[in-house]
């Protein structure tokens, strides 16, 4: 018998042909199976939008942004105090690294600064709130992070710091330890070496996902340190953090995503190396979010740490459907409001709460976008049935 071409490659010779893969019922993954593409960006079509170059510098918006940045940047004294507080804790932790025999509950592998303080993108907490200025440390343990070990580490730190810092309070949280000193705080994010991840048990130890998260925080910090150096980038991160602080709907945008988004908006300038000014980059960030950057069907942003696009990341998607919708409709509303009343969106001027209901902004009737996906029912939608009223019946009557 002579065959022209084997039907299967040699390692599949005796197997049945490929079956159609099992399709799970409606789920998060359904959207990801669909074709997804990059979201639309004005910068990629310069020939269609010739006026875009003129829009790069928006003097009005730039002035407002600068004003806002002044307001949200912590005072020099505050940030100096925070630095002192952080470095003292760091010193004590370094001692544990250098002389592991002095502390038996756990062994510390390394200590690293992460987060907004390290990247100089820290902003003032909202006025009137009790949230202190915070800097973050990641402590990688060689041993397993049991609850007891964490408590003992807290006690040890308390002992060491007793004489140097007054008013110190230490509590253990679900991510590690939180040390507070009046209006400052240092979050100690605990994690363990990746080799130990398999043996983590959430009843005894820190949660595995939190351990991973804290570990990735180190990588993220490295990347941000290396890549996001442009002042425009740092400015944008601050603006977005400030926006997130004031509008609850932007909550799903975690600090890492803010960094990614800011970097994308400032640097990815249609194959040119020119960095965009903050006024345009800020607008662009909102435009991208409004165009559904994190909606199903879009690739999202490229995540250099996971080496994949954020929306395609497996196994756990970064946001639930409800969060995707919330993020999108909030930024859509903000984008429209920005065009009408930029001072309100940036927070330099008070205005009516645009999310409360229909209102008038600078002479324009403004209605905020409504959610279409709700938390309890991921398939849900906001339209009631009376409104739908079967247009088809009418069309075809």
């Amino acid at each position: 018998m002579r065959r022209s071409r084997p039907r299967f490659p040699p390692w599949r010779q005796n197997r049945p042909p490929y079956q159609h893969s099992y399709r799970p019922p409606f789920s998060q993954h359904q959207f990801q199976q669909n074709q997804s593409s990059d979201v639309f960006d004005f910068l990629n079509l310069p020939e269609a939008f010739p006026s875009i170059k003129q829009l790069f510098d928006d003097p009005i918006l730039t002035a407002i942004i600068m004003e806002r940045i002044q307001q949200i940047t912590p005072a020099a004294a505050d940030s100096f105090a925070l630095m002192n507080f952080g470095s003292v804790i760091r010193q004590k932790l370094d001692i544990l690294v250098l002389s592991p025999s002095s502390f038996t509950a756990c062994q510390v592998s390394e200590v690293r600064d992460v987060g907004s303080y390290k990247h100089n993108t820290i902003i003032n907490p909202p006025i009137g709130s009790q949230i202190p200025l915070t800097s973050d440390l990641v402590v990688v343990l060689k041993t397993l992070p049991t609850r007891e070990a964490i408590d003992q580490l807290g006690n040890r730190l308390k002992q060491d710091l007793q004489n140097e810092i007054e008013l110190l309070s230490i509590r253990s949280t679900d991510y590690g330890l939180s040390l507070e000193n009046g209006n400052m705080a240092v979050h100690v994010l605990l994690t363990t070496l990746p080799t130990n991840w398999q043996s983590l048990d959430s009843s005894l130890h820190l949660d595995r996902t939190i351990c991973k998260q804290n570990f990735y925080a180190i990588k993220h910090a490295k990347w941000v340190d290396e890549v996001c150096i442009h002042p425009s980038n740092k400015l944008l991160v601050r603006l977005l953090k400030d926006l997130r602080q004031r509008f609850n709907g932007l909550e799903p945008l975690n600090p890492w995503l803010i960094n990614l988004l800011a970097h994308h908006c400032v640097t990815n300038n249609n194959n040119s190396t020119e960095q965009l000014p903050p006024s345009y980059a800020f607008k662009r960030a909102l435009q991208l979010l409004s165009s559904g950057l994190f909606l199903p069907g879009s690739n999202g942003l490229y995540d250099p740490i996971n080496d994949t696009y954020t929306n395609l990341s497996r196994p756990k998607p970064i946001m639930t459907l409800e969060e995707q919708d919330r993020l999108c409709y909030t930024s859509q509303t903000l984008l429209r409001a920005l065009a009408i009343h930029p001072k309100y969106v940036l927070g330099t001027e008070n205005g009516p709460d645009i999310f409360a209901g229909p209102c008038e902004l600078n002479g324009v009737m403004f209605i905020a976008n409504e959610p279409i996906v709700f938390k309890d029912q991921s398939n849900g939608h906001a339209i009631d049935d009376t409104q739908q009223q079967a247009m088809f019946a009418e069309v075809n009557s």
Binding site: R2, P296, Q332, Q389
Partner: protein, 653 residues
């Protein structure tokens, strides 16, 4: 209609590649008849009498005049023109070539050529890979092998696949197998002869009879015309390759074109076609009367057209969970029926002929006066259809159409008044046509089947752009003239750029439908949608993605104040904004609506967006039964005929 398949009884009726390419995503039931003939430069038509002493125009607007002249010519001899157009519209390209060259045969018709090595039975994707294969050692070995192959009388050999089976069972299972099936298909595709021994295998065993029948069936099936091809939907993935096919009638999916072809010819498909589309369709239960069958299917072709409307109703019940499916369904519903189009065409032609006679009267008026005044001043140069009518973008609810009369000079109010009174004279005795003046346009209303239609006639002149004077009392306002000119440019751009794109008009119609039903989108002009669709279709591949991109454009603040707005592509000299006329409130509203739409689409509820309808009055026009009912068809046509005759008589008198 002639059927090529009868001549090539051995092969598929339709060449494979043609089916793949001709699959329209959205049923395109517009005939070319309603399109203005494309712009050509060699028009030798007689212009208006007043035009005869005109010098040659030296600007770029010649084509506009000429296209206008062509429309005029088209209705002076309507029978020929329509027949010609019909002829072009209804005969698909069927003259494909089959070419077999020595060792390789290629389907020359298409860009996707297939190179086939007969010795090794391998189809190569391209010329280079074919040549590489020919030079390869495998091929050479097989070539030498095939020359001294022993022929064994005890074995069964499938000539097609070049496989030798030792027993009849093995042979039978081979014939049933998918590999053999594929080879047969490939050969049919390439237009090769299927060896006789396969069709009539001279097998001594009784069981082989079934095999024989099966084979025969298959070849017979090839003669059966594939019916209901318009219900096959082609799904693309994002690299423009065809991912799969979906048969809407039978609700099943195929991964390759062959499976789809077989399905189209299959009994199940035919039965569901009979059930859902055409009850008169004859499902052939016997395989014997081949010729009969062909007749049935070709006669069915004509019947099918009539029933085309009815299947739309059937689709309402089918579950649509995908955006493409939904858009397609929506498009089926909003596309105007043939009857409606005919009625519109009739009405427009009536108005056009009336305008023509007006022009003649105006001309004779001036010559009769024979004053020293510039005789050209009052002359009308031509009529052009503008807007949706000529762009072929009408949806069911459209009742307002636009014509523009091109004048030699900047039209005066005097001329406008004359034209108006002449038109009123013409329709004095017609009860169902009324003429009104509305600012600088003449509005002609008519009632056809209790349905009001309106044609808005505006006047413009090509000389107006070079004229820098601001509004003078005696002339019509400059802005309205410029708007009309702009619309003409838009038509020209549309014909050059958008009509060539496959799904453009379907998508535009869907978006236009939304502008009709949503208050927020009412201010979004059709031109803007056309430009957006053109942009997105150049960038993205599949129509759904293009649709989504339009929403992304708008949702991302394209038209918000202080944002990049759209350049009008047909205005090269000045950078003008396509959304100039909108105020902040409208910009905000349009963006808002698009943002909602984008999220609905992203979460798979596109239908809900289209079902949100806050203008209930708009739907009234859909409720008219007159155009969707087949019963009324002859009636309305008759009425139109009588009407047009009376108009013509009136014009003559």
């Amino acid at each position: 209609m002639s059927n090529n398949g009868i001549n090539y009884s051995m092969y598929n009726t339709y060449p494979y590649t043609q089916i793949v390419q001709q699959q329209p995503l959205y049923g395109q039931r517009f005939s070319n008849r309603h399109l203005q003939p494309p712009i050509s430069y060699n028009a030798g038509y007689q212009m208006y009498p007043s035009m005869q002493n005109q010098p040659q125009y030296n600007n770029s607007y010649d084509h506009l005049i000429q296209s206008a002249a062509e429309t005029l010519a088209a209705f002076t001899s309507p029978s020929e023109q329509t027949i010609l157009n019909k002829h072009q519209a209804h005969i698909p390209q069927k003259n494909f070539h089959r070419r077999s060259v020595n060792n390789s045969s290629s389907d020359a018709k298409n860009s996707t050529r297939i190179y086939y090595c007969e010795t090794c039975r391998i189809a190569c994707g391209g010329l280079s890979s074919y040549q590489a294969h020919i030079k390869g050692s495998k091929h050479l070995k097989k070539e030498t092998n095939s020359q001294n192959q022993p022929t064994n009388s005890n074995t069964f050999r499938c000539e097609l696949c070049d496989i030798i089976c030792t027993s009849s069972d093995a042979y039978k299972s081979h014939l049933d197998g998918s590999k053999h099936d594929k080879t047969v298909k490939l050969h049919q595709k390439l237009g090769k002869k299927i060896p006789e021994s396969i069709q009539q295998p001279s097998l001594p065993i009784n069981e082989s009879q079934t095999v024989e029948i099966k084979e025969e069936k298959q070849t017979l099936n090839n003669n059966i015309k594939s019916i209901g091809m318009e219900y096959i939907e082609t799904l693309y993935d994002n690299t423009n390759t065809i991912k799969s096919y979906y048969c809407k009638l039978c609700d099943c999916k195929f991964n390759d074109a062959n499976a789809k072809d077989t399905h189209l010819k299959g009994k199940r498909h035919q039965l569901s076609y009979k059930k859902k589309v055409n009850p008169n369709f004859e499902v052939n239960t016997s395989n014997n009367n081949n010729s009969n069958k062909n007749k049935a299917s070709s006669s069915n072709e004509t019947v099918k057209h009539v029933y085309d409307q009815q299947i739309n109703h059937n689709y309402n019940q089918t579950e649509t969970n995908e955006d493409t499916k939904y858009l397609m369904m929506l498009h089926e519903q909003i596309i105007p029926t043939q009857n409606l189009l005919d009625a519109i065409e009739q009405f427009v032609k009536t108005v056009e002929s009336a305008l023509k006679s007006c022009s003649e009267q105006l001309c004779s008026l001036t010559t009769a006066e024979n004053t020293e005044l510039d005789t050209n001043k009052t002359s009308l140069m031509g009529i052009s259809r503008i807007g949706l009518l000529v762009k072929n973008l009408l949806i069911k609810s459209d009742r307002l159409f636009h014509l523009v009369v091109i004048c030699k000079e900047w039209p005066t109010k005097n001329l406008f008044q004359n034209l108006f009174s002449l038109l009123c004279d013409i329709w004095k005795n017609q009860t169902n046509i009324q003429c009104y003046k509305h600012e600088d346009t003449i509005q002609v209303y008519t009632n056809i089947n209790e349905d009001q239609m309106c044609i808005s006639i505006s006047l413009t002149s090509l000389s107006i752009q070079s004229n820098n004077d601001v509004n003078i009392e005696q002339y019509l306002s400059k802005t309205s003239c410029l708007n009309a000119l702009n619309a003409m440019h838009s038509v020209r751009w549309f014909q050059q750029h958008v009509t060539t794109r496959q799904h453009a008009s379907a998508l535009i119609r869907c978006l236009r439908y939304k502008t009709k039903i949503a208050r927020n989108w009412q201010s979004l002009s059709s031109e803007a949608i056309e430009i957006l669709i053109e942009h997105t279709l150049t960038k993205s591949i599949s129509p759904v993605i293009a649709f989504r991109h339009v929403l992304e454009y708008l949702a991302g603040g394209l038209i918000l104040p202080n944002n990049p707005s759209l350049r009008i592509p047909w205005q090269t000299d000045s950078i003008k904004d396509a959304f100039d006329s909108l105020n902040n409130q409208q910009r905000n509203d349009i963006t808002h609506e698009a943002q909602i739409g984008l999220r609905f689409m992203a979460f798979g509820h596109l239908n809900k967006w289209f079902e949100q309808c806050d203008i209930p009055q708009m739907m009234l026009s859909f409720q008219k039964r007159s155009y969707s009912d087949d019963d009324n068809e002859s009636n309305s046509v008759k009425r139109q005929c009588t009407k047009s005759e009376t108009i013509e008589e009136h014009n003559k008198s």
